[in-house]
Amino acid sequence: MTSLPASTPFISPRARPVRVRLRAVFEWLMESALFLVTGLSVITTLAIIVILVHETWKFFTMRGADGQLLVPVKDFLTDSMWSPLLSNPPRFGVASLVSGTLLVTAIAAAFALPLGLLTAVYLSEYAPRRVRSLLKSLLEILAGIPTVVYGFFALTFITPNLLQPISGSFGTHSAMSAGIAVGIMILPIVSSLAEDALRAVPQSLRDGSLALGSTKAETILRVVIPAALSGIVASFLLAITRAIGETMIVALAAGGGVAQLTVDPAAQVQTMTAYMVQVFLGDAPAGGVEYQSSYAVAFTLFAFTFVMTWIGALILRRYREVYE
């Protein structure tokens, strides 16, 4: 290639052009590397799902000495009792674990969703800038506390100082105590995501409402919150998903090793996650039916969180308001 005519006075005629081939190679390398890295996370997710399905399949096809299925799927879904270690023969009715999880989650949600939304409204619409940044950093600290600390907190503060003075029916462990602690844990998720949703509502909508003679509270209730609803609901679903999957708090505070089908908040319950902790901490011999059952429970848990995430995505897509 001959040298280009010096058509501009800006570039010295002695400057050597960058090799075009090298730039193309770099582009190709860049794209391939990024694709590989992205593919890695997809493959990891898929691998986890495959292992879950495979091990769950093994659990449901285990046969005893008499050749009978040890745990038919029907028993797993319909039996009301979960007692893999203590009863003979062991009982595997997952409903008891599911009810434990849902009870704790419902208590946490009843506590955290309204409080989180109110906090978000205050932060987004009322708080002066300095108060807002102070409160936000406090909430971030709350979000950074390890969940085992919440578990201690439930056992050593919530139960003896809040619950037991109210009612004598609360023992050391209860769904209520764990639920409140999980609620405190997911509060920052709700408040921070809901606040993002509220602040994303354009100021022009607030102005339009105020200019029609509505008060600030009317503007928030009739315009801002409805406009941010999809984001608020998404924050709720994400928080609930976190509560369903929460492990450490419930393992410490919700109950010992006793799973029961109940809606009593003062009762001891075992959640799906707490059961898995129990199994893998060594209560059950590897390869046995109890050990294997934790995969089936994990798969059930995965099904729950997957559905929640899916509903969240649907709501976001269906109700998203598009602003320029």
Binding site: L205, D207, G208, A211, L212, G213, V223, A227, E321
Partner: protein, 286 residues
Amino acid sequence: MTQPAESAPPERRDSSAVLPVAASAMPPVGAAAPTPPAAVAMRRFSAWYGRHQVLQAIDLDIPERQVCAFIGPSGCGKSTLLRWVNRMNDSIVGARADGTLTLHGSDLLGRTVDVVALRRRVGMVFQKPNPFPKSIKENVVFGAKLHYRLARADLDEIVEKALRAAALWDEVKDRLGSPALGLSGGQQQRLCIARALAVDPEVLLMDEPCSALDPRSTASIEALIRQLRTNYTIVIVTHNMQQASRISDTTAFFFEGRLVENSATDLLFTSPTQKQTEDYVSGRFG
């Protein structure tokens, strides 16, 4: 319904030496013409954002049931002035004003003014159409439902009247329940006008209502403004001088926070008395 803003006695503010005014900034042009009574009046009206003074001693009467255009280069204070008339500046930290600003003789600046009642009497249309993410019908009745308890039939009547007044009824009458955000930009802006009209305001403030619209939508809004002036006092801020000359009865030219000239629109555009006005309206500004 009581109207506290009207019944409240005109509050005297600290610089209450309001009248007569040494009308230094106001040339005597147009003073001779028989003007209708002023709907909105300002005397030595000044405004600040923090320490920055945006408006300096404005003396201006906005005649009733006419269209008054505010023109001037960006940053001259015309939008700020408009936003003081319905106190939209209240939500801006550090915004304050001095002097007098009255609506049919009653003070608008005092602490005791009921801003909610004031905004029912002084509606506003914004630069960018800002319909709520609700149905067309819900948008129109939003203000009315805030202020009155209304039966379903009343609401339906308000919807039709307001949409007809905003020249939008024929285009949307078959889909009142569909989302307002599905309308075109020009339709959205007419919906915002309908929404403002639905609370029976006396004054309509319009802050560059056509600047986000294409020429055809602009033409329909302009035609609408000309119709509306028979019933409403309209104040419109515009960057478009042709628009000001097409639709307004009087024009006020602002420059660097001062009112340079205010007179009948044809007079201001054909024979301005001030050099600055002449330079601006002839496009020789600089």
